[in-house]
């Protein structure tokens, strides 16, 4: 391919790339927009789902705490009712009551139920704690009123008549081991009813029922569904202060944006519940869908854009490909045409269904057609082929079409200018067949082999003929002789053999030179040929020796007539390079089968007849030497008739 064409193709490809971009780019942008839109929507949905789940988690934990505190309240209310109903109940009654309570896992943080009574002087002392444990014995001697946190709760309970929740305290303050906790307190009034006036309440107060609770154990029993996905902190009051921390469940890698707090108002006291989403929270609520949507959307967008590009540029790319292939094909054709035409061959393409022929200019020239002539039908070509070759050509072509031969190759003659015939070699092969193996198309070349054929013929001619006189040489004549004898024997025909020897040729050659001698021989040869029929064969078998083979209907008389005619013609004066020369010859005639039955015997008979003739006389001489001056025709000596093989030898005068 030429550099310019390469550059043009490159430019076209670059242009195609840019030209094909808007649609895929549009598709890509649209897909990306849809992807981003869907992703955004999905993210919003996921955020909403997570937000709802997180809010539900916060609500759930708050409700669990409230309900657990309510359960504790019910315990205390039961105890309150028991003490109100049985003011005279002793320690055993109290123990029996508490023992009867189902204080199982639902009250995991509860360290017992106590009853505290106000003592004269203002102190408040725990009278009994059940279930009793030795390690809690120290609690029984404590003055609860002396501890501000507990005093506040007791006071609040006494004044409101409802359950009061203490602030955070270390349970060590109640001799219960060091851990964060709180105390629930409920007043018990004499008569079971809360007096309306505060002063009356103080007077009517019989005791408090208390429930010390360890916060960590309480919360452990509230283990929720999402405990491992949510971090939890509970503070006493609204201040998220470490000193007020009641409970903490930590998680690594908290979601900074997903945290919230809620105030729990219980027993006249406020807790702050702080909740934060852990790393597993989002995944647990389908947060991995939106990123997958984005990833899949990006991949699909790119694929879609690629598909759009492929579809959008398919026509152009196919066109470019077709152009490239066409160009390559054209170049290939040009190369082959150049090669074929350069070799002097023509190309033909025979389309059999419509019998049309496509051919190159060289083919037309070889076929003797003009360049401007329309491409001929195959039938028109047959008329241009030599009649002797036509059948062979058609036969070879048919064999190839029928598949009997793979290649069609035949040499034949076509009509040339001026009525000449030119040899050509046509080669071809069938390149396309139908389902029934019928040939549809055949292509081939046509080569000019005229020169080769002429050369071959010339070589063959030279091998069989005398180069000087172009008469059959000894070998060729012998072959013809043998053929004629065989034919004559088969059909009982006669043949005649005439031997001819020029009389006194050597002096002519010596005196006038070889050129004149050669001209003389050529003239004699022509005259001999002129004297015989076309079917007869004339040969030169020696320097001045000629032979004639007479075939066809023949009699001794007619053969003798031919002999005489030769003698007379040869004896005619001839102009050779400005010289007038006359020469005679000696002839001997032998006939088959009378004078011999084979080549040898015939030759011998003819030879003997010739020598008899030669002995009988000499050709024309002037002063006993060959004449160099053309004598007047009238002065020319009259030749004598040649001798026959029957013993009448012929001799020149």
């Amino acid at each position: 391919m030429k550099p310019l064409e390469l550059a043009a193709l490159g430019t076209q490809a670059r242009w195609l790339r840019w030209r094909g971009l808007p649609l895929p780019l549009l598709v890509l942008l649209l897909s990306l927009a849809l992807t981003l839109g869907f992703w955004h929507s999905e993210q919003q949905r996921e955020q909403a789902v997570q937000r709802r789940a997180f809010d539900a988690g916060l609500r759930d934990i708050c409700e669990r705490i409230e309900q657990r505190m309510a359960a504790h309240q019910h315990l205390l209310q039961g105890l309150q009712g028991f003490l109100s109903a049985h003011p005279a109940a002793d320690a055993d009654d109290f123990k029996s009551y508490v023992d009867a309570l189902p204080l199982g896992a639902d009250f995991a943080g509860l360290r017992g139920l106590a009853v505290a009574r106000p003592l004269p002087g203002g102190a408040v002392q725990v009278g009994q704690l059940e279930p009793a444990q030795a390690r809690h014995a120290a609690l029984l001697g404590l003055d609860l009123w002396a501890q501000p946190v507990l005093r506040q709760a007791l006071l609040q309970a006494r004044e409101s008549g409802r359950m009061a929740l203490s602030a955070k305290l270390d349970l060590a303050q109640l001799a219960m081991g060091s851990e964060a906790g709180f105390v629930l307190a409920l007043p018990v009034y004499r008569g079971g009813r809360m007096p309306a006036q505060p002063a009356d309440r103080r007077a009517a107060l019989l005791a408090w029922v208390l429930a010390p609770v360890a916060a960590a154990d309480l919360m452990a029993s509230l283990y929720g569904d999402q405990a491992d996905a949510l971090a939890l902190e509970i503070y006493d009051g609204q201040e998220p202060d470490e000193a007020q921390l009641l409970y903490r469940r930590q998680l690594a890698g908290l979601h900074a944006a997903r945290q919230a707090s809620e105030f729990l108002v219980m027993g006249g006291h406020t807790w702050t519940v702080w909740l934060a989403a852990g790393p597993d929270f989002a995944a647990r609520h389908g947060a991995d869908y939106a990123p997958n949507v984005l990833r899949a959307g990006l991949v699909l967008s790119c694929l879609l854009a690629l598909l759009a590009w492929l579809l959008g540029t398919a026509r152009e790319r196919a066109q470019i490909l077709a152009e490239r292939m066409t160009r390559a094909l054209r170049e290939s054709e040009q190369r082959w045409a150049f090669a074929v035409e350069g070799a002097g061959d023509g190309v033909w393409d025979w389309h059999l269904p419509d019998d049309s022929l496509a051919c190159s200019a060289r083919w037309k020239a070889l076929m003797g057609l003009s360049l401007g002539q329309a491409e001929p039908k195959i039938g028109e070509l047959w008329a241009r082929i030599h009649p002797e070759d036509l059948e062979r050509v058609r036969s070879e072509a048919q064999a190839c079409l029928d598949g009997q031969t793979a290649q069609f190759s035949v040499e034949y003659r076509v009509s040339g200018p001026g009525g000449s015939w030119n040899w050509v070699l046509s080669r071809g092969t069938v390149v396309e067949r139908d389902g029934q193996q019928q040939a549809l198309r055949m292509i081939g070349t046509l080569s000019d082999i005229n020169a080769r054929r002429l050369s071959e013929e010339r070589v063959r001619f030279m091998a069989l003929h005398d180069p000087l006189t172009e008469l059959a040489n000894r070998a060729h004549f012998g072959e013809r002789m043998r053929f004629a004898l065989a034919h004559a024997r088969r059909y009982q025909e006669s043949i005649g053999l005439i031997l001819l020897d020029l009389d006194r040729f050597k002096p002519v050659n010596d005196q006038f030179g070889h050129a004149v001698g050669d001209q003389l021989l050529q003239t004699v040869a022509r005259r001999i040929k002129a004297a015989v029929r076309e079917t007869d064969t004339v040969g030169r078998i020696g320097g001045d020796e000629f032979v004639v083979l007479l075939t066809g209907p023949l009699s001794r008389e007619s053969a003798q007539g031919v002999t005489d005619k030769i003698f007379n013609l040869v004896a005619q004066p001839m102009e050779l390079s400005g010289l007038r020369v006359e020469i005679t010859c000696s002839l001997g005639l032998a006939l088959f089968p009378e004078d011999g039955l084979d080549e040898l015997s015939l030759s011998k008979s003819a030879d003997e007849a010739m020598y008899r003739s030669k002995r009988a006389g000499r050709p024309w001489l002037r002063d006993g030497r060959p004449s160099a001056t053309p004598p007047p025709a009238s002065a020319a000596p009259q030749p004598k008739p040649p001798a026959a093989a029957d013993g009448d030898g012929l001799t020149a005068p």
Binding site: A48, R51, D55, L58, R59, C62, E63, E66, S160, G161, R162, Q238, A257, R258, Q259, A260, S261, E262, F263, L264, V265, M266, G268, T270
Partner: protein
């Protein structure tokens, strides 16, 4: 005989007869009044079992500290008129709605409707009120729109509460931005507002006594949502009360409105014109 007998009455007897007549008339009026207090027995709710009713601690509606409030009075009046026994409990509002939905709780008070609540609760309206935004002055905003635009400002709400249309919209938007601080009780919100942990909360007329406390009043301002008054009513669980039963309770509440009982209850806690405005349903 009758004429004579009448005509034969002495002046003292005539006075006595007149006093008897007046007494009879008074008795009739009293009986008529009694009939107005309670619906006919056919319309009275069937007290087939003790009912559960929950109050929530919310300012003048009910104060756990004083064990008094509008809702408590309404509940008492409902008990008195229906003759049914109520088990009254104090619960967080969110818990109340859950129990109403499940049917574990029959009644609550001062509830407002939402499409979601209509699925599981029926209402008997007896007052309406507007909502307002109680906004800290140091929040730097004076309009609700500005409050919404400032991402650092937090709104305190009681879990389970819904409000008027604009207030609900604000709450929902802030919820999406995680700018809500929930609480199970009103007192904690006032504390948080006073401490600056939240910058605003939504209030009702029942919260005004707390709002008027100096620690709140001095730091805050009230911004109107501009929504019409929202009806409040007796909440009835559809899961535990049939349609007919609901209708009887609704009639009972309506009777309380008609005869002025509700107005009188509200007048215990509000000035007359305020009370009148509250019980005047739209």
């Amino acid at each position: 005989m009758r004429g004579r007998a009448v005509g034969a009455m002495s002046g003292g007897g005539r006075r006595t007869a007149m006093r008897v007549a007046i007494c009879l008339a008074g008795l009739c009026i009293a009986m008529a009044g009694r009939a107005g207090d309670a619906p006919a027995s056919a319309d009275r709710p069937a007290c087939s079992r003790p009912f559960s009713l929950a109050l929530h601690d919310h300012g003048l509606l009910y104060s756990a500290d004083s064990a008094t409030g509008i809702d408590k009075d309404v509940a008492d009046e409902l008990q008195r008129r229906s003759g049914c026994k109520f088990h009254i409990a104090l619960l967080p509002r969110a818990r109340i709605w859950q129990l109403i939905e499940s049917g574990a709780l029959d009644f609550s008070l001062s509830g407002i409707s939402t499409p979601q609540r209509e699925q599981f609760a029926a209402f008997a309206w007896y007052f309406s009120n507007k909502y307002q935004l109680l906004l800290r002055r140091d929040a730097g905003v004076t309009r609700i729109e500005d409050f919404e635009r400032r991402p650092q400002l937090q709104l305190g709400v009681i879990r389970g509460f819904r409000y008027s249309e604009s207030a609900n919209r604000l709450v929902d938007r802030l919820a999406e931005q995680q700018r809500l601080t929930q609480s199970s009780g009103l007192s904690a919100l006032f504390d948080a507002l006073a401490a600056g942990r939240i910058q605003a909360m939504i209030i009702e007329p029942f919260d005004l006594p707390t709002v008027s406390l100096a620690r709140i009043r001095e730091q805050t301002q009230i911004v109107e949502f501009g929504d019409p008054p929202v009806p409040h009513g007796l909440i009835m669980s559809r899961a535990s009360l049939g349609e007919a039963e609901q209708a009887r309770w609704r009639a009972l509440v309506e009777a309380m409105r008609r005869d002025g009982s509700l107005l009188r209850i509200f007048q215990k806690y509000f000035r007359p014109e305020q009370a009148q405005a509250l019980v005047a349903l739209p």
